[in-house]
């Protein structure tokens, strides 16, 4: 293979099995291929590789088969319109699936089956997607390497001694390893984009509010978004189209019809691109080079490309590590052993709560709960939480100012390529700093896409991040496709 350790793409072991979701769905609708056939390929790949990679917390073989059969039956009846007909998809294990384990890779929810489906799940099923399983993640989405999972880490398919990134490591790895063409993850500070970058796949974090959060187990409510992983920009775009709609069960859901092709540039030569200069010095050489190479490529097509300093973004990480843990400390309070999940008994309720939570949560989760509780507590609220929310405004304003002069911004997705398992576990702060470039987007509520762009140190994939203002997904996708083709 020309690109070192690159894993095989989906369906490559079967001739005439397309690897792209859009094509697969089209062929299923046209009755050229059966959903069950596609699923079999997927399950074979999973069986062959997941023992080593550990993408999945739960595999839904029989159920998936039944779902695939149902799609085939519906297609046979005629007129079937599902945009994801027969496409196998993996779901991050913090998205509720009715009657199916949803553990958030935590001991405290290891036995929990929600009595309801997340809105995105209902939609995927309506469109004919076949849910193959629930993927591994950092516990409660807190982490950047999938190493805090109660079920053990997921490995990077390019080099199984390295991390896949996090917190949506399982979903990124499943797509990267060619087990299926699509997967869902969630992104609070980079948890889709960073693993996408480390695993050499495409990941999109949508504008805050574009995709419903109903059924996503909350980490930091004002930052969380669900988004897709795919092996191509077009597939990720297809998944996003399906998932972007107004949901009245989510009060923060944006009105429908806002995401569309109205932002697309007619001509790349009219594009104005800003390279975030202050994000370059701390990045590894290959990650820096990806950005400058991309800039040069776009300039070659006539785009106006410049470096721009947005120093306010450097404060993003500090603000994030106050806001996110604060919200998380409140969101995770409900895990008290009373209504569901783990219970460790005690003489009284308070003791039961303490024993349950102490036994049920991992160390990183406890750290963040402690940090968040502290930041909100009496006497510290103004200095920490309130100040962080003000800095958040600063970051958003800085972005808005930049977008007056640029249509899109470019940066590395991650400061490094995938690091070794265990390398950062002992140093929480260094782990937090891997989200340097992705966090500001979440703070502002803006969208961003990470696409694979070359390989770097040790032949590991490098990710390029394309950022845009709120609701500019169509433009980001257009630019990403241009770069992908080049």
């Amino acid at each position: 293979m020309s690109l070192g350790n690159r894993p095989p793409s989906f369906g490559s072991s079967v001739s005439s099995m397309p690897s792209r979701a859009r094509e697969l769905a089209k062929l299923v609708r046209e009755k050229e291929i059966k959903a069950q056939e596609i699923l079999e390929v997927s399950l074979r790949e999973i069986a062959a590789r997941d023992g080593e990679i550990n993408s999945f917390n739960l595999l839904l073989q029989d159920q998936a088969m039944e779902d695939a059969k149902r799609v085939d039956e519906a297609v046979a009846k005629g007129g079937y319109k599902g945009r994801l007909a027969g496409v196998p998809i993996a779901i991050k294990d913090n998205i509720c699936t009715k009657g199916i384990l949803t553990t958030c890779s935590s001991k405290i929810l290891a036995n929990w089956k929600p009595p309801y489906d997340a809105t995105v799940i209902t939609k995927l099923k309506e469109e004919g997607a076949v849910i193959v399983g629930k993927t591994n993640m950092d516990e409660f989405a807190m982490g950047s390497s999938t190493e805090t999972s109660f079920f053990g880490p997921t490995k990077n398919p390019w080099d199984t001694t390295r991390v896949p990134g996090g917190s949506s490591g399982g979903s990124a790895a499943a797509v990267a390893a060619g087990m299926l063409p699509l997967a869902l993850g969630s992104d609070t500070g980079g948890s889709i984009r960073q693993p996408a970058s480390l695993c050499g796949v495409v990941g999109i974090k949508p504008t805050y509010g574009l995709v419903s959060r109903y059924g996503l187990v909350a980490f930091a409510s004002s930052l969380d978004q669900i988004g897709p992983f795919a092996a191509s920009v077009d597939d990720a775009a297809l998944a996003l189209e399906v998932l972007a709609f107004h949901d009245r069960r989510d009060s923060t859901s944006l009105a429908g019809g806002l995401y569309g092709s109205q932002h697309i540039k007619k001509d790349i030569s009219s594009l104005r691109v800003g390279i975030i200069r202050n994000f370059l010095p701390d990045a590894a050489e290959s990650c820096r080079r990806a950005v400058t190479d991309a800039g040069q490529f776009l300039a070659g097509l006539g785009a106006k490309v410049e470096e721009v300093d947005i120093p306010e973004l450097d404060y993003g990480i500090a603000a994030y590590y106050i806001i996110a843990p604060a919200e998380a400390s409140s969101n995770l309070a409900r895990f008290d052993g009373v209504r569901y999940g783990l219970r460790v008994d005690g003489e009284d309720v308070e003791e039961m709560n303490i024993r349950t939570r102490t036994a049920g949560f991992g160390l990183e989760v406890k750290r963040r709960i402690m940090l968040g509780t502290y930041a909100l507590s009496a006497g510290y609220y103004d200095a920490y939480y309130l100040q962080a929310q003000k800095v958040r405004s600063l970051v958003k304003e800085a972005f808005n100012k930049a977008y007056q002069n640029y249509d899109v911004l470019l940066s590395p997705t991650s400061p490094t390529v995938a690091f070794s398992l265990g390398a950062k576990v002992a140093d929480p702060l260094s782990m937090y700093l891997s989200d340097l470039y992705t966090i500001p987007t979440n703070l502002a509520g803006h969208p961003a896409i990470s696409i694979p762009f070359g390989t770097g140190e040790d032949n590991m994939p490098v990710g390029l991040q394309i950022l845009g203002p709120a609701l500019s997904e169509a433009l980001l996708i257009q630019v990403a496709e241009v770069l992908e083709a080049g």
Binding site: I95, A118, G215, S221, A333, D336, V338, V349, T373, L376
Partner: protein
């Protein structure tokens, strides 16, 4: 002005201190569904049958605000003369098993209603600091021991009530007596019912009152340490608890001790309050803005639509209206009549010419038994009855008896009078009986002739006995006076 309201019995005990009371009233709103989800808002259903992922706080669930709850909150705000403001929701974080999320969604520094007041019938005014929206908690049953939480071995939790919409109304600490506190609650209850926001049933828990009580030397401008008193299930508990607590605090201070700021539980049986918290740490609620809800920003049009019909419905308006009809001297009667929601009834009766004083008396005394049924009386029938009494065709005793029956059976007074045998006694008949009583009681009659007014009661009593209560007191007096004149 408020000093005049202090009952001397209260101040006598308080040795130069005055009571300072602020009331927090939680009122359950009369909506079909809960505050953040479509589960039924219904009291008394089978446990855990009105629950869903949202009100159970299941992982991944999200709240969506009930429009009707907001509108009822605005109506309460308008009725309490508050400013209706743009507002936000906050999370109040603490662990308790009847709280599904272990935080409560409430309002903190930006409540929907603020800076209002309540004018009481006696013209005193109590400030209302805020009236905000929040969700209710589930309910626990304590098993083991006598059912009180301190003796329980375990608890059972029902989440039917979790998520029910509440408005919390917080008064300024401007109440100065237990009686004023009672009046405040009575007035507030009427307002809540009149605006359609609540059914105001204190004993059922749809209206819950907590009292913040402190004392200070009369004339002092600073506040003493206050204690929050809970478990006030009736107006009687409210007044007694306030009086007990005030005395307790005064006693402590007089002994040179310090009043600790704490929450106390009122015990009806022992008529005393006891400390609830085992340690004296206040809860750190770590309020922060609720990220899953967006701010509320009601525009003037919406507020107008929702609140424009309120003023005529309010008890103060109804009192004013009735007073202008019957006269200001009837304030205390009118207050009671409005509270019983019989003001329209009274108004119509008076307009048809019935005697004001009689109407008020009969309504307050007899109709009070069952105001709901009394409201269904035909005004015409009631007016007929009053006129029969006013013209001495019926005695007071008879009139009251007929009215009781009218309320129960809705028959007309004529029919009932006949059935009870209250036929009109002819004047001749009456004269005969009066003559007989005079004849049989010569000593007493002579004393009356000599100027002894008190002996009249005895003579009247005798006449009533013989007429089996059918005599009209006024008519009898008239006859006796006549005979007295004839004799002099």
């Amino acid at each position: 002005m408020t000093q005049d309201l202090l009952q001397t019995s209260e101040t006598d005990d308080l040795k130069g201190f005055e009571i300072v009371v602020g009331l927090e009233v939680h009122c359950e709103l009369l909506t079909q569904t809960k505050l953040f989800c479509g589960c039924k808002n219904n009291f008394g259903d089978e446990p855990n049958t009105n629950v869903c992922p949202v009100c159970l706080g299941l992982p991944g669930s999200l709240p969506v605000l009930n429009k009707k709850a907001v509108e009822l909150a605005m109506r309460i705000g308008k009725a309490l003369n508050c400013a209706i403001l743009p507002s936000t929701f906050h999370r109040k974080n603490y662990f308790y098993p009847d709280m599904p999320k272990d935080f409560q969604i409430s309002q903190y520094d930006q409540p929907i209603n603020a800076n209002g007041y309540l004018d009481l019938p006696d013209r005193s005014r109590v400030g209302v600091e805020r009236a905000h929206i929040e969700e209710d908690t589930g309910k626990s049953l304590h098993i083991g021991g006598s059912g009180r939480i301190s003796e329980a071995t375990r608890s059972l939790v029902d989440y039917n009530r979790a998520g029910v919409p509440l408005v919390e109304i917080v008064s300024a600490p401007e109440i100065r007596s237990s009686q004023q506190a009672k009046t405040y609650v009575q007035e507030l209850r009427q307002i809540l019912v009149a605006t359609g926001a609540s059914d105001g049933r204190m004993e059922e828990g749809s209206m819950r009152v907590d009292a913040n009580v402190s004392v200070r030397p009369i004339g002092s401008k600073t506040f003493g340490t206050r204690c929050e008193i809970k478990n006030l299930n009736s107006l009687k508990s409210l007044t007694q608890a306030i009086e007990y607590e005030a005395r307790r605090q005064v006693d402590l201070i007089m002994e040179g001790k310090v009043v600790s700021q704490e929450t106390r539980h009122y015990n009806e049986t022992t008529n005393s309050t006891s400390s609830m918290r085992s340690k004296e740490e206040a809860n750190d609620y770590r309020y922060f803005p609720e990220p899953d809800l967006v701010p509320l920003s009601p525009d003037a049009l919406w507020i107008e639509e929702v609140t424009s019909d309120i003023v005529p419905l309010l008890p103060a308006t109804k009192r004013a209206r009735l007073l202008s009809l019957v006269g200001d001297e009837y304030l205390s009667q009118v207050t009671i009549v409005v509270e019983m929601e019989l003001d329209e009834f009274v108004s119509e009766a008076v307009k048809e010419g019935a005697d004001v004083k009689l109407v008020l008396n009969r309504v307050i005394n007899e109709a009070a038994r069952d105001p709901e049924k009394a409201r269904e009386l035909l005004v015409r029938d009631f007016v007929d009855l009053i006129m029969m009494e006013a013209s001495n065709k019926l005695s007071a005793t008879q009139s009251k008896a007929i009215l009781q029956e009218m309320i129960d059976s809705n028959e007309s007074p004529d029919v009932i009078a006949k059935r009870l045998g209250f036929e009109q006694m002819s004047t001749d008949n009456l004269r005969e009986i009066v003559a007989k009583v005079i004849a049989d009681n010569q000593n007493e009659w002579n004393r009356y002739l000599a100027g002894d007014e008190k002996v009249i009661q005895f003579l009247l009593g005798q006449i009533m006995r013989l007429t089996k209560g059918r005599a009209n007191g006024k008519e009898v007096m008239g006859i006796m006076t006549e005979i007295k004149k004839q004799n002099s």
